[in-house]
Amino acid sequence: MSERERSSFGDPAVTAVEPTRAGKWKPQREGAPGLERRRAAGELRRALRRLGRHRLALLGLLIVGIFTVCAILAPWLAPYDPTDASLRERRQPPSWEHPLGTDELGRDLLSRLLWGARISMLIGLIAVGIGVALGVPLGALSGYYGGRFDLLVQRLVDIMLAFPGILLAIAIVAVLGVGLENVMIAVGIASVPIYVRLVRGSILTLKEQEYVLAARALGASDGRIIFRHLLPNCLGPILVQSTLQIATAILWAAGLGFLGLGAQPPTPEWGTMLSKGRVFIRVAPHLTLFPGLAIFLLVLGFNLLGDGLRDALDPRMRKLTGPGARA
């Protein structure tokens, strides 16, 4: 088995992630720097090329790109004010004037969906940001130091994982109260255990590697070893997980919105819009159809991209899990 074939997420010394490090790395101190850097750059090129050939990943990138543009340019793209009610034009089907129709208060649905892209993207990014910011350091310290601290963190993770899926987010919202910011926090906290597990597992395998021993022999501090040597090598799995996790965060947040626990009207959040529109499912099905389609497409985009990134960074996995697998 060649060196390349062996690298996988179980052994996350994935060389493909090294370029991120090579940029900042001061290679004079450790090993043959030029060679290392050239090899890393080659790996990145190969990974990018694999991503470029991955048609589904490109489709995902395209979807995410379109939604990102919508989110950023919402104020200019939206034909109407998203909160501008017009009771005379309530629940109109799609027309030239209102391409996706109007909602129960006569607001333009397309404009609301465009602004909603902003909210959903923001939810995804902030929630995942919270998960990474808390989960990665906890996982790294837990894996690196082991012992009692590790045992404590692992029990905490076990407790959090005792509330499966969306339940933890629901429970946190029950405490913090209903609202958009609290949904971001709740979904973010609910994703912490995933990162703790992921990074801890990676660090456990990595810390036995020779270059870590070498760094330690050279007198590098624990902090330097963790942040300069170990964590950069976990970036690949973290990146893949985060892309997929944004998809989950958007789904959960929309679900909380649908339950009435998330963003409150008149905020144009997709899940909240859906829950208001579903009352009229018989007379105005477009109020249910379009917001749901928007959630579905954006989540699909992130999932396609995440799967593609994983395949590109780790070609061995593809053989086992195939196109679009995530188990």
Partner: protein, 306 residues
């Protein structure tokens, strides 16, 4: 084996205690004055004081905790502030409905996911494989509440084949079970596929083929048996996830389970009921995990952690 069983049981206890502690803290961590949060901003000072006494919020925290644990051990989960009924009774009345829905969803998921996964693995990268894995990706990307509403729109509103909401006959169960089971079907299909693919590369499968065993027998007899162990694990874990995931499906189909109960209770600030549901679902999930791990160890004697 027994050492593993005991170790695994011991590991469950701190998790359960932790979950109980979290549920206890839920009410105490409410922003501001918890008594006001429970009673509502418009409540009279007398009512706030009554709530404070009822919930024991005037006691020191450790005393509250001990009281909470003591009551819990007696099966006392408190009284609903909304209906004034014991929380236990409400859970008892609703939980079987959620269990019914989750089990039906699991059956749907297994019936779709396992065959799809096997066929995909036997013919990797075939048209069927690519198609079914793409559908699986759709399955995990689709918002469950939207799927439910769309199915309802098609099969109830347009075609009139199935009832839109409520619980009762088997026909009422179809749409909610399919809705809830879709994401699980996708996960199970992927898991079955990758597990089968791994087993199919094993030497003993090659040996079976080499000695002329028909391909059908190789797949069904030799490969499937071993590939099934991780699949069984996923099935067990999915049941727990489905019980909690039912919250959204129940809301769509007006299914009278604990999921709808918890949402209604959060919106009505009925915290004893919220605590009760969260605790019930978490405990069920932890115990299901325990059972799955033990079954796994029993099926595969190589598994003995630590």
């Amino acid at each position: 084996m027994w050492r593993y069983v005991v170790w695994r049981l011991l590991l469950t206890l701190p998790t359960l205690l932790g979950a109980v502690t979290f549920v206890f803290l839920m009410v105490r961590l409410l922003p501001g004055d918890p008594a006001v949060a429970i009673a509502g901003v418009q409540a009279t000072p007398e009512f706030v004081e009554q709530v404070r006494r009822e919930f024991g919020l005037d006691q020191p925290l450790p005393v509250q905790y001990i009281t909470f644990l003591g009551r819990l051990l007696q099966g006392d989960l408190g009284i609903s502030t909304r209906t004034r009924q014991p929380v236990w009774e409400e859970l008892w009345a609703r939980f079987p409905h959620t269990l019914e829905l989750a089990l039906a969803a699991l059956v749907v998921a297994a019936l779709i996911g396992i065959p799809a996964g096997i066929i995909s693995a036997v013919r990797p990268y075939s048209l069927f494989d690519n198609f079914s894995m793409l559908v699986a990706l759709f399955g995990v990307s689709i918002p469950v509440f939207w799927l439910g509403l769309m199915l309802m729109l098609l099969f109830s509103v347009q075609l009139g084949w199935l009832p839109a909401t409520g619980r009762g006959t088997l026909a009422h169960l179809v749409l909610p079970a399919v809705t809830l089971g879709t994401a699980s079907a996708a996960l199970i299909a992927r898991m079955t596929r990758s597990s089968m693919l791994e087993v199919l590369t094993q030497d003993y499968v090659q040996t079976a083929r080499a000695k002329g065993v028909p391909e059908r027998v190789v797949i069904l007899r030799h490969a499937l048996k071993n590939a099934f162990i991780p699949v069984v694990t996923v099935l067990g874990l999915q049941l727990g996830t489905l019980l909690s995931g039912a919250v959204l499906t129940e809301t769509v189909f007006a299914w009278p389970g604990v999921g709808r109960l918890v949402v209604e209770s959060i919106l009505a600030r009925d915290y004893p009921v919220v605590q009760g549901v969260v605790l019930l679902l978490a405990t069920t999930f932890v115990i299901l995990n325990l059972i799955v791990d033990l079954v796994y160890a029993w099926l595969d004697p190589r598994i003995r952690y630590e």
